[in-house]
């Protein structure tokens, strides 16, 4: 087990710089999830940690040792890929044992580790089958097994669940999280799915255009995003962002205002009756409703801008009708309209 430290890490392809000197410290045993849109540099960062991409500048340290010039095999890490990268011509047992190809363990110990990994991952009945006979989730478990048997200092996951369907993905999320709990190994995990980030991470690292925007525990990022991008990226559906201004400490929607107000759909509640004195009230015409079961999402139009609010499950407003929705003052995120940086919330 080990810490992973990124120190002013830079990656350039020719003149194009894709990672702009990022700093990060992954603590021993921590589960860190890199999240961001395509092309934000999260996969490149992970591949540099793995040693599959050269480092253009700065340092990577694993367990205190600078590994910039070390071959992947000397870094004592294991990686799980999006397309599993398990070999179709080998059985599950051979695939898992392939992780131990170069170790000097005796045959018995190798077998024991493979059997153990198989048991932990629920692959025991499939050990002598070929990958073609397995489902996507099982294949990904084989890939995890191959990583596990090496007992590495850190696991690297590169979008491991992106090829699975929604149901399997939800199940594998829980399994990987449980596995981390059990093994306690440092994990760096890359995904573009903010739900995976929220549900699995000890710490989320939000990246965009080769910069780290914010890094912190999931709820901290959810509650206090540092800018509009992070605010909209984390949480589903995305946070509503409206221009506005403050008058007497009260938020007022205003197309010319110098602020941006961010309100999560879950905090913007459709209701009749007078608003509390310091609450923000938005009124508009319903354009669409999405009943989800426990609640209903109501899309409505406020001065040409789409807003999503939440209504109780059985009180579904009609499309075309007018609704009002209210958000408490403490739930309104404020951003500078120019810089899009957060100004915090008034509590």
């Amino acid at each position: 087990m080990a810490t992973i430290t990124l120190d002013k890490l830079v990656k350039s392809y020719g003149k194009a710089r894709v990672i702009h000197g990022i700093d990060l410290e992954v603590r021993d045993g921590e589960f860190v999830v890199f999240v961001g849109p395509s092309g934000c540099g999260k996969s490149t960062t992970l591949r540099m940690i793995a040693g599959l991409e050269e480092v253009s500048g700065g340092e990577i340290r694993i367990g205190g040792n600078v590994v910039n010039e070390l071959d992947p095999k000397s870094r004592n890490i294991a990686m799980v890929f999006q397309n599993y990268a398990i070999y179709p011509h080998m059985t599950v047992r051979q695939n898992i044992a392939f992780g131990l190809y170069t170790t000097k363990l005796d045959k018995q110990e190798k077998n024991r580790r493979v059997e153990d990994a198989g048991r932990i991952l629920g692959l025991t009945p499939y050990l002598d089958r070929r990958p073609a006979a397995l489902s996507g989730g099982q294949r990904q478990r084989v890939a995890i097994g191959r990583a596990m048997v090496r007992e590495p200092a850190a696991f690297l996951f590169d979008e491991p669940l992106s090829n699975l369907d929604a149901q399997l993905r939800a199940q594998m999320r829980i399994e990987i999280k449980a596995l981390h709990h059990r093994l306690g190994t440092t994990i760096a995990y890359v995904t573009h799915d903010q739900v995976e980030a929220m549900t699995m991470a000890d710490r989320i690292v939000v990246m965009r255009d080769g910069h780290i925007l914010q890094s912190g525990p999931p709820m901290e990022i959810y509650d206090d995003p540092v800018d509009v991008f992070t605010a909209r990226f984390i949480g589903t559906p995305s946070m509503n962002i409206l221009p506005g201004r403050e008058a007497d400490g009260r938020a007022v929607a205003d197309g010319d205002g110098r602020l941006l107000f961010g309100i999560r759909p879950q905090d913007l509640l459709v209701r009749d009756g007078a608003a509390a004195a310091d609450a923000l009230e938005l009124t508009g015409t319903v354009t669409a409703v999405e009943p989800l079961g426990p609640e209903t999402l109501v899309h409505f139009d406020v001065a040409g801008q789409q807003v999503i609010a939440t209504a109780p499950a059985r009180a579904v407003p009609e499309v075309g009708s007018r609704v009002s929705a209210q958000a408490a003052r403490s739930e309104i995120h404020r951003f500078d309209r120019e810089t899009e940086r957060s100004l915090g919330r008034r509590r």
């Binding site: 793995a50 992947p72 095999k73 397309n83 990268a85 070999y87 011509h89 392939f98 190809y101 090496r150």
Partner: protein, 311 residues
């Protein structure tokens, strides 16, 4: 349920003349397209092949009517030392040529796959012999093999003080000399196929192996070669058939005495050609053809069986 059942209820379908069911119409189209090649192959390929079996039991000089003589052609062939020499030559081309050309092609493809500089140009250079006329190529190689001072190779050997080699005039060296030309001629095609096979292997397989600490040799043995097996099977069968049917390189490089010196380079196809069109002994040539056909069939089936996927 078919359209036919619904048809009568829909007048416009009748008006369109579509009284046939969808299935029948589709079958008509399919067979319409298939008919031409089937007819062609039946007349040009399958009928003569089958007829060769019949002719192999006859004595026929093209002019007279074929006369049935039983297995006499086969008895004559198996008792003829010249036939057995040709038989040995043919297998020499097969057994030496196929592995050498495949190992060479794979090695070149493996490294060419990593070369970025002038990649397309180098690939084109390797492919060029494959599209060159066999006779033109053979004449260039004949010139290489000439004695000094004409021949390039012997001139070079002379300059560094080595003995001359009678490439095409020696019963020992003639067959290997021709084989080099034949291997070179087929190399380009095999390289292209191997490279396509290499490209089809996902990069992450290699990356995963690198992280697991597997070295170059291990990756080649455990990942690249097993995953390349379908390509290899195809090329082994393809190259084997090519070497078993070798003709044009031999014929063009030994024009004064085709298959010589003393029949030391003569393959089966050339023997068949001479029997048929120099000696006009069609029945005997047909018997030799049947033997070649049988060898090709056995070798191909054997290879497919040996290299079959056991998964």
């Amino acid at each position: 349920m078919t359209i036919q059942e619904a048809g009568p209820a829909r007048p416009e379908a009748r008006a369109g003349g579509a009284r046939l069911s969808m299935r029948t119409r589709r079958a008509l189209w399919v067979w319409g397209f298939l008919a031409l090649p089937i007819l062609f192959y039946s007349v040009i390929r399958f009928y003569p092949t089958l007829d060769a079996f019949r002719l192999s039991f006859t004595d026929w000089d093209l002019m007279s009517t074929p006369e049935f003589i039983g297995v006499e052609n086969y008895a004559r062939m198996f008792g003829d030392p010249h036939f057995w020499q040709v038989f040995r030559n043919t297998f020499a081309y097969l057994i030496i040529g196929t592995p050498i050309s495949l190992v060479l092609a794979f090695t070149i493809a493996f490294f060419l796959d990593r070369v970025r500089f002038a990649h397309t140009f180098i690939r084109a250079l390797y492919f060029l012999p494959f599209i060159t006329t066999a006779s033109a190529m053979a004449w260039v190689w004949r010139w290489f093999y000439q004695p000094a001072p004409t021949g390039a190779i012997n001139s070079f050997l002379g300059q560094i003080g080595l003995a001359q080699i009678d490439f095409l005039k020696s019963t020992t060296w003639a067959l290997p000399s021709i084989m080099v030309t034949a291997i070179w001629a087929g190399l380009g095609f095999q390289i292209i196929i191997f490279m396509a096979g290499l490209r089809a292997i996902p990069q992450t397989y290699y990356e995963a192996a690198r992280i697991d600490g597997v070295g170059e040799w291990g990756i080649l043995r455990k990942i690249t070669l097993p995953l390349l097996k379908p390509t290899t099977v195809f090329l082994v069968v393809f190259a084997s058939i090519g070497f078993l049917r070798i003709f044009d390189q031999v014929y063009n490089m030994t024009t004064n005495d085709p298959g010589g010196p003393l029949g030391s380079t003569k393959p089966l196809v050339l023997l068949i050609y001479q029997t048929a069109f120099s000696s006009y002994d069609m029945g005997y040539a047909a018997a030799q053809t049947v033997v070649l056909f049988t060898i090709l069939l056995i070798v191909s089936l054997l290879q497919l069986w040996i290299m079959r996927d056991r998964a």
